[in-house]
């Protein structure tokens, strides 16, 4: 394929790493937005646009708008409303995060080698998408704020999107539209939820969201 697309892949991976070490909440939001935009541009740059006609134009544009403009705006608003501290408050240190991210990339490479895709157009695209998915998980599991969890979800979404591109699976329009709508509504609903959380709890630290539990702590071993 073309080197331009491969360049984008590299950028996506670098963005993963950056996400792993960024401490500022707004920085994270922007990085995710950038990643979404870059990934959205991939099909345009990866060529073959003419073959798909108007559809190939509409979707990337919709995606770029959504991920580059709507989501960051929503999330930044939610962050401002919540009045929380402005950093991500990781549960593990940044070096550990980046090590995990690297590990995820290595594991993804191995998995990619086990799964020979029939028509891979871009090298590294499968590992990159898997690594992005794992980075998303990293954000969800090692950061305390509700917003970072939404960010993690978006990163996972990005990874999946890239993977879908890699396959050029012929998704009918209705299906793609539905998927896009779902993602949009998901983030929207999550945004509303964050708004409620910040109102009820005065902050959006999910450590507070652990009242519902069945752990019989201290009731055993006697």
């Amino acid at each position: 394929m073309n080197t331009f697309a491969e360049l984008i892949i590299v950028v996506v991976i670098l963005l993963d790493m950056a996400l792993a070490v960024t401490g500022s909440l707004s920085g994270c939001i922007r990085l995710v937005a950038v990643q979404g935009v870059v990934a959205g541009l991939l099909p345009l740059l990866a060529g073959g646009g003419a073959a798909h006609g108007v559809r190939a134009l509409i979707f990337p544009v919709a995606i770029v708008t959504l991920k580059g403009v709507v989501f960051p705006w929503l999330l930044l608003r939610a962050r401002d409303r919540s009045g929380a501290r402005k950093d991500v408050e990781p549960l593990i240190s940044y070096p550990a995060s980046i090590l995990l991210c690297l590990g995820a990339f290595i594991a993804s490479s191995w998995l990619g080698s086990r799964l020979p895709l029939p028509e891979t157009n871009v090298a590294w695209i499968v590992p990159a998408s898997l690594a992005t998915i794992f980075t998303g998980f990293l954000l969800i599991t090692t950061r305390t704020k509700a917003i970072t969890q939404v960010l993690g979800y978006l990163v996972i979404e990005n990874g999946i999107y890239i993977f879908g591109l890699a396959l050029f699976v012929e998704q009918p329009m209705l299906v793609e539209l539905a998927i896009l709508l779902d993602v949009f509504v998901a983030v929207f609903v999550m945004g509303i939820a964050i708004f409620h959380i910040s109102r009820e709890f005065d902050h959006i630290d999910t450590a507070e969201l652990s009242e519902l539990s069945d752990w019989r702590s201290g009731e055993y071993g006697k």
Binding site: R114, L115, P116, L117, P118, E119, I133, F137, I140, A146, Q149, V150, G152, Y153, I156, E157, I160, F163, G164, L167, V169, E170, Q171, P172, L174, V175, E176, A178, I179, L181, D182, V185, A186, V189, M190, A193, H196, I197, E200, F201, T206, L209, S210, E211, L212, D214, R216, E219
Partner: protein
């Protein structure tokens, strides 16, 4: 066309946001449910009678699409079966809801645990989301395309989140948040699975249309298909509540209003199960039965174990019911994994579980209304305070734990027999042991709550049991009981057709 089934709840849902009068909105809800159920019944009837068997049905539902016609929505036996469950359940839930909403309006209630006065979400949003939720579930059962199925399943998550947050307080918010995030992440993985599925079929063709994939199954790329199955299994398994992805389930079920819990447990989990069944069918056709069977059996059994472990010493009766749902989802996975009669048994189990569990959740709502607490230790002597609720509560316990006559019993017995016949003795032994633990754990709770005599609390009003909140559960229980005594021939053939034989 299938459109009425889909469009009716959709339109009604949007309408519900606009309608101002509570009364009118409740009527809308009930009548939509009734018409939906009628349409479903017609569809089932016309399926059973064959083409042209039922007048006027042809324009309602294209059951037999012409080949090569790109149809997004149509029904096969499996989809129809789950549609039937969903519609029936919604019929019960809507009638329950009419009374429930009226009761909540007049007496918003107070959560005895948190001393937090409910600030219920506006009824309009609730009713609207409820109807849209039905539309999404109808879409799940009727999708022929895996991608569409995915989108519909994700839609059910998003539409049910506001329902869980009906009682606007901290704990229901927490439950909603967990539900939303865990299920979304899970479903995202399922999307990945869909992509793998597409990749597996790139050479063989067929896309993601279910029937086409089934036909092309032997030619699918095996490693990719395996990966697809794993992703889809984890994804839909999360939504279905298999352990260890079940973590959202007890929280959501315990914090949602009773009728929402009933729908979640009885209808929503089935929708996710349908997703698993679809991909499993493709894998089995592709000759991966052992592979998928192993995974399903493993997680099925682990779900039963988890449920059993949490049943011991459970403190909250709605959470207890939620864990029982996890158990049953485990049993369904187990049956599916065993294949053959096991799959038939799993479907029978899905039907019985949905009805029973919905009935139990309805009843739990009455218990909550009567006792104002969800803590098991604070509920005593229901028999005295709310005798009819108590009878339902105890009856539901007998049914759900599989005491015959009950469809649950038949399903468990068939699955056990299938396991033994397949030589999985240790599996059968473990299954039985944990079923015994579950039974004992639940027996303790139900006996403690139902029997005894706690006397009257200070300033407590007697609880008048509204018939509208009892009848749906009674009806469902009667059906499950009847199912244990008599499985009609048409249902039998529908089940076998759905099980792929």
């Amino acid at each position: 066309m299938i459109r009425p089934l889909l469009l009716l709840p959709l339109a009604a849902g949007f309408l519900a946001f606009i309608v101002r009068s509570d009364r009118a909105r409740r009527l809308l809800l009930v009548w939509t449910a009734r018409v939906h159920f009628l349409l479903t019944a017609l569809t089932v009837l016309s399926y059973l009678k064959g083409p042209g068997g039922v007048p006027f049905a042809a324009w309602l539902t294209p059951l037999y699409p012409r080949p090569s016609e790109a149809v997004w929505f149509s029904f096969d036996a499996l989809g129809l079966f789950f549609l039937g469950i969903t519609s029936l359940l919604f019929l019960g839930a809507s009638h329950y809801a009419a009374y429930y909403l009226a009761a909540e309006k007049s007496d918003p209630g107070e959560d005895a645990d948190g001393l937090f006065v409910f600030n219920n979400a506006p009824e309009a949003v609730f009713t609207g989301c409820l109807l849209l939720f039905l539309a999404a579930m109808t879409a799940v059962t009727s999708s022929r395309h895996m991608g569409l199925l995915w989108a519909a399943v994700e839609a059910t998550t998003l539409l049910s989140a506001p329902l869980i947050y009906f009682h606007r307080h901290k704990r229901s918010l927490e439950a909603t948040w967990k539900y939303l995030l865990i299920c979304s992440v899970g479903i995202a993985l399922a999307l990945m699975g869909n992509l793998f599925l597409g990749a597996a079929g790139l050479k063989a063709g067929g896309g993601l249309d279910f029937a086409a994939m089934l036909a092309a199954a032997p030619g699918l790329d095996k490693p990719l298909l395996k990966a697809a199955f794993l992703f889809l299994f984890v994804g839909y398994g999360t939504k279905m509540g298999l352990s260890p992805f079940h973590t959202w389930l007890p929280d959501a079920h315990s914090e949602a209003p009773a009728l929402v819990s009933a729908l979640l447990s009885g209808a929503l989990l089935n929708c996710a199960f349908l997703g698993v069944l679809r991909v499993n069918a493709v894998c089995v056709s592709a000759g991966l039965a052992d592979f998928t069977g192993g995974v399903l059996v493993l997680f099925g059994l682990f779900s039963v174990v988890t449920a059993a472990m949490f049943m011991l010493g459970q403190r909250d009766y709605k959470r207890m019911l939620a864990y029982s749902s996890i158990e049953h989802m485990g049993i369904l996975a187990l049956g599916t994994g065993l294949g053959g009669t096991g799959l038939f048994a799993a479907l029978l189990g899905a039907l019985s579980h949905s009805l029973t569990k919905a009935g139990l959740f309805f009843t739990s709502g009455n218990v909550l209304a009567a006792e104002r607490t969800k803590r098991i230790s604070e509920v005593r002597g229901l028999w005295r305070r709310a005798p009819r609720t108590a009878v339902l509560w105890l009856g539901g316990f007998f049914l759900i734990t599989g005491l015959p006559p009950s469809g649950v019993f038949l399903s468990k017995f068939l699955i056990l027999r299938e396991a033994v016949a397949g030589g999985h003795y240790w599996l059968a032994a473990g299954f039985l042991f944990f079923l015994a633990v579950l039974f004992t754990g639940m027996a303790r709770v139900f006996i403690a709550m139902t029997f005894g005599d706690r006397g009257q609390k200070e300033g407590e009003k007697p609880y008048a049991e509204p018939a509208g909140m009892l009848l749906p559960a009674a009806l469902f229980f009667a059906l499950v009981l009847g199912l244990g005594l008599y499985v009609p021939a048409w249902l039998d053939s529908l089940l076998w057709a759905a099980a792929g034989r």
